[in-house]
Symmetry: C2
Subunit: 306 residues, 2 copies
């Protein structure tokens, strides 16, 4: 099987869990018992982040199908941070999880190819082709049109990888551009949805979904429903659940027969040990147990809303 979306759906079915754990580490989110082991500088912070990430992955790798490291939280620690990003991706893959690198890259042809080489394909070097970050999926920005997307699609075909293209993002001001109405009465996000759908046609797998997916925010239920109709073969990566306000019943509008989307939660899973819901039950040393308990609660909530 060489279709990334089939692989992801198989993991979702295997775990009966349509969720992805966002790995957006902030230094102050890390339990003090980990932070205390390392120096209070960039190198120390990066070591603490890696230990924390590994602990989180260990705690849920048998019940959560995927992780989504957001690269901004690693780039902000410079070169050392990028190392930790890479180590985190590798570790999650070793533990059998799908890795969705949330990089939201977007650029013109040859430059997009450079990004795609970095994350999905291989970097040409002399007569060789070298694998760099090697994740399963990346997120892509559509503002540059197909020129900026095609190099990723080519690598999806060649290497059995996938992408999620931004369509309707979860943030408050996403409508500033995405909700503008076009001449024909449709909105920009609908138009982008149509484009994404057509770009993915050649990559539809066994379950009827393309390896070219879409990012659709949990915070916009009406749009989730609309886009599910416009894009019947497009899998949704759904951020905005939990902390941002997206509800399980809203998210269910993007699903059909239990498939159609994968829901991200970052803070609510990573810092479950600090949350009102779990902080009485688990100490900070037991942060992994708290994350596991929250992952089970979230899974059950989503499954019962469907």
């Amino acid at each position: 099987m060489n279709n990334a979306m089939d692989k992801l759906i198989n993991k979702i079915k295997e775990t009966n869990n349509p969720t992805v754990m966002g790995l957006d580490p902030r230094y102050d989110m890390i339990p003090e018992c980990i932070r205390a082991k390392y120096e209070k500088n960039v190198e120390g912070a990066c070591k603490a982040i890696l230990e924390f990430n590994k602990g989180l992955i260990d705690s849920v790798c048998d019940i959560v199908p995927a992780v989504k490291p957001q690269i901004a939280f690693y780039e902000m620690f410079g070169v050392e941070g990028i190392k930790v990003f890479n180590e985190t991706c590798k570790y999650a893959k070793e533990k059998g999880m799908c890795v969705i690198a949330d990089v939201k890259r977007g650029d013109i042809g040859s430059t997009a190819a450079g990004y795609s080489n970095a994350y999905l394909g291989r970097t040409p070097l002399c007569d060789e082709k070298v694998s760099m970050f090697d994740v399963d999926f990346v997120t892509v920005n559509p503002y540059l049109g197909i020129d900026g997307v095609k190099p990723f699609i080519d690598d999806c075909k060649e290497y059995g990888k996938g992408i999620f293209i931004l369509v309707k993002t979860s943030n408050k001001s996403s409508g500033e551009l995405q909700d503008l109405k076009l001449e024909d009465g449709t909105t920009i996000y609908e138009k982008v949805g149509e484009l994404v759908s057509s770009w993915g046609e050649e990559l539809v797998g066994e379950y009827g979904y393309s390896s070219v997916g879409a990012v659709v925010g949990a915070t916009y239920p009406i749009q989730i429903k609309e886009l599910r109709e416009i894009m019947p073969k497009t899998y949704f990566l759904i951020p905005g659940y939990g902390a941002q306000g997206g509800k399980a019943e809203d998210i269910a509008l993007g699903f059909k027969d239990g498939l159609g989307g994968i829901v991200n939660a970052s803070r609510s899973l990573m810092a479950a040990y600090k949350s009102d819901r779990w902080k009485e039950e688990y100490s900070e040393e037991e942060y992994g147990k708290a994350t596991r308990a929250e992952a089970i609660r979230m899974r059950d909530e989503l499954n019962s809303a469907m």
Copy 2:
């Protein structure tokens, strides 16, 4: 003076040169005399790229005001590549050049803040704030609306930095999304132009231009002219000159009294020693001289078109 656009304009006036050298290194672009010194692996390639970049910077730092490393070409070499990106930025700054990191980042609030910390601001760590890549400008993608832009603008204010937001990109398919017509008859790129213009209002400097600039492709002269009218206080970063087909007389439409834009050339400068124009005159060992000759030719061509 703490306005990034004022600083850039001063450099442009000092050198009488409205150009920026793109640093988008490809391994096969590097002279064999440099490549031969290093091993044929990722580490070796990265060392060769750094030596090449430094040579290029040395050759033009007194006559070209800025460099624009495109981070995709470094990310494609993984962690080692990011190190070289960082070293390149540092070296160019030491040599007195402005550094525009072409990263085209764009994400929601806290994530955009992470990116902005990485490139323009500081990363919070315990009670400190640590500087990471520390460039003068970054490029930003507008698809997420002001949420994705504000953290950058905040750092522009606090640290005297600047951004260039994608408005009308130089690639062939840029119109697929950017040229769509809205209900009121304007296009998306015009609407984005208006937004960018309003977002930059608080950052207008001594020369009447904001530190919030716009990316406008040299390949679309009609749009350059239109956008110059819509955005009188916005400085343009203009890619697409040379190899992509943008002409000096087209670019001149974005200027007023010799100011208003900075024109990027990557391949034509970096690989000048291989070009039909200069390959007879300069050997590959003299790649820096060829780049300097081409930089002077480009400067004079642009200045005489204005």
